[in-house]
């Protein structure tokens, strides 16, 4: 019998199915994003899990280009985050669904609602918002933007279930051909909405902190919620479209398709709908026979919240002294797990933590990642939190082995500080002082994580990473041998009993020294360089306890945390 945590994990694994991605079924390139394919893929996968009593709907307006590239903002050192959209959508589903379910559970049954809840996603092009011109300033400066987005959101809510993009046809922007520019900017708005019970007022601020990252992407997030009508998460992000890329004018997109089996080309289809159906194996219980009804709240309200951007309009790297509060998903993860639990066999041992005392943000922009890496950062965090919630109801079957972490750093002080922080986190690290030693260490032992300083004597972190990746790709250490690092002894000769030769891709995290006045571009270039050489992410110096903690949480397999 699956626990709630497992279900979410399955969902996530499906969406993240790397084999699918890598075989080209869904390409998540570092900078490009195919909105329709992605929306469809997310919905398809989510449908299997969330479709119990919901209609899932996705719609991509005609004027959204087939392919967009992410606009790296000039203010924040953000790298290629556009592909986070699908995960954002998914996360919104994960947020909305359990909230709907849990509210229903708590509310009394009402006989008069036959309306099916609907959860959906819409993507469409909008004109460049006012906040784009103003830069990233305090929320008060962009109240007009807020107004417009929430007004739009209100229009969508409380309308019929089959929402078409015709409401928004008025917006055309950005993809006008501008002959003199090689690339143009398109502002795409994404609404993730539900027509269900709506999100309670007090939950909204909590949810928002998680989406702070959207601000960094150069966009804006708003959520509006009206009880009984539902809620909408909206974010607006800028994307680049190359003019060579033509988008389909296929108006068939808007036809109501009852089945999700698209006969059209995924790239051009813009409308997807997944009707409720009785679920089979996944929710292995009696839950499916329960009718869930839309329950009105007695207290009515309509509120819209806007997430304020960073309070300083900073042009410098904001993360050196991490002051962001620690936040957990305790409430929400509980809801997710709880909600899924309600549809599976009833399980009792589930502690519902009450207060948002300690919350950890899902989105932490401390590690700037490219698209290809985001999938390994964002969702495992959800998984981890959900699993933590569900841990009490599962027997611990995982082997509790200690993770093997390698620290590659030549500065003694940094070594001392990092080691001490790791110790506080419950880990011991092996330390080597340059790239050559790092390669040798990896040759002889399988590490779960490598923290690699970039600038080191003898051999720098970039080259060491390239050599390690070369081994992972080719299965041999020829590249290392070429630069003078001898082949390792065969495994059987190794004296270390618990070391195995590397069998999988090791997460390699760069340790970057970020000067306080570094521009976003320079920052982005340094990070780009790391990624180009095969690194997965980076932490910036000075290394803090919090950064390390998040890094470990993101990159260590769950059972080793």
């Amino acid at each position: 019998m699956l626990s709630s945590g497992d279900l979410v994990l399955q969902l996530i694994n499906d969406i993240l199915d790397l084999s699918k991605v890598e075989s080209g079924v869904m390409k998540l390139e570092a900078a490009k994003f195919h909105p329709r394919e992605v929306v469809k893929h997310v919905l398809q996968t989510a449908a299997a899990y969330l479709q119990k009593i919901l209609t899932l709907e996705g719609e991509v307006a005609d004027d959204v280009p087939i392919e967009v590239r992410v606009l790296c903002t000039h203010i924040h050192p953000v790298l290629c985050l556009g592909n986070k959209v699908p995960f954002f959508i998914l996360f919104c589903f994960l947020e909305l669904y359990p909230l709907i379910s849990s509210h229903r559970r708590r509310a009394k049954d009402s006989a008069n609602s036959h309306q099916l809840d609907q959860v959906g996603v819409k993507l469409y092009v909008v004109p460049e918002p006012p906040f784009a011109k103003e830069g990233y300033q305090n929320g008060s400066d962009v109240s007009t933007a807020k107004q417009s987005t929430t007004n739009l959101a209100k229009e969508e809510r409380c309308t019929s279930t089959s929402q078409t993009s015709s409401d928004h046809k008025g917006f055309h922007d950005g993809d006008e051909e501008q002959a003199e520019l090689p690339v143009t900017t398109v502002w795409i708005r994404c609404d993730v909405y539900d027509t269900g019970i709506g999100i309670p007022e007090k939950a909204l601020p909590t949810l928002f902190k998680k989406y702070m990252q959207v601000e960094l992407m150069g966009g804006r997030l708003t959520v509006s919620s009206r009880v009984n009508c539902g809620s909408t998460f909206t974010f607006i992000l800028p994307y680049k479209v190359s003019l060579a890329c033509d988008h389909s004018d296929d108006t068939d997109d808007l036809s109501d398709m009852a089945d999700h089996d698209a006969t059209k080309d995924d790239a051009t289809t813009g409308f997807f709908q997944f009707q409720p159906r009785t679920l089979g194996s996944l929710f292995s219980s009696n839950g499916s026979s329960r009718t869930q009804k839309l329950i009105p709240y007695t207290i009515g309200y309509a509120n819209s919240y806007k997430l304020n951007g960073f309070s300083e309009a900073s042009h410098s790297f904001p993360m050196i002294n991490g002051r962001t509060k620690e936040m957990t998903l305790a409430d929400d993860a509980c809801s997710v797990a709880e909600a899924i639990e309600t549809s599976s066999e009833p399980k009792s041992s589930f502690s519902h933590s009450s207060g948002p005392d300690n919350e950890s943000a899902i989105f932490r922009d401390k590690h700037h990642q490219s698209d290809a890496m985001f999938r390994t950062n964002f969702l495992p965090q959800i998984c981890r939190v959900v699993q933590a919630q569900g841990a009490s109801s599962r027997e611990v079957s995982n082997t509790t082995s200690k993770p093997k972490i390698l620290l590659v750093e030549d500065n003694k002080i940094n070594v001392m500080v990092t080691q001490s922080m790791m110790k506080q986190l419950g880990h011991t690290v092996a330390v080597v002082n340059n790239g050559v030693e790092a390669v040798r260490a990896v040759q002889s032992c399988s590490y779960d994580l490598v923290l690699m300083d970039v600038y080191m004597p003898v051999m720098d972190g970039l080259q060491a990473t390239r050599l390690i990746r070369s081994f992972e790709e080719t299965g041999n250490w020829d590249a290392a041998a070429k630069v003078g690092i001898e082949q390792p002894l065969p495994y059987s000769d190794s004296l270390k009993l618990d070391c195995r030769p590397p069998t999988k891709r090791i997460p390699i995290i760069a340790i970057l020294l970020v000067p306080m006045q570094m521009t976003a571009n320079a920052m982005s270039e340094s990070a780009d360089e790391c990624f180009a050489n095969g690194m997965d992410s980076f932490v910036s110096k000075p290394i803090t306890f919090q950064k390390l903690k998040e890094c470990l949480e993101q990159y260590l397999p769950r059972n080793l945390l």
Partner: protein, 149 residues
Amino acid sequence: MDVLQLQKQFIDYKASLYNEGFLDEQFTQLQDLQDENNPDFVAEVVSLFFEDSERLLNELTKSLEQQSVDFKRVDAHVHQWKGSSSSIGAQRVQKVCIAFRNYCEEQNVEGCLKSLQQVKHEYSLVKTKLETLFKLEQQIVAAGGSIPM
């Protein structure tokens, strides 16, 4: 001086170090790492920093005295110093290192020499201040009190 006075002096002094930019939040991180298992952590890291800094200072002085300055080498040393000062929270030292690196990039000997003087100055300031801070701690402990966090 009684314990309370000593403690107040300590708190004020420490606050001034932060306010004047000698120390930044990273130093707080170090303090957070100190516990019963690791009671002298901060003192250890700081003395390591002092040792390392003296070494780097020597290296830099030597390198910049050469007829033909090897800027790459100078830069490497400054980079190290920037890293270690940032790791312990010695903010002003770190800032000077940044300027220093810019001069290295420009291959500007004058600028480098100026920066060398500045970093030497800032380093000796923060060294003195940290030593004073530790002395205050010792006085508090000697008087039977506990060190305020």
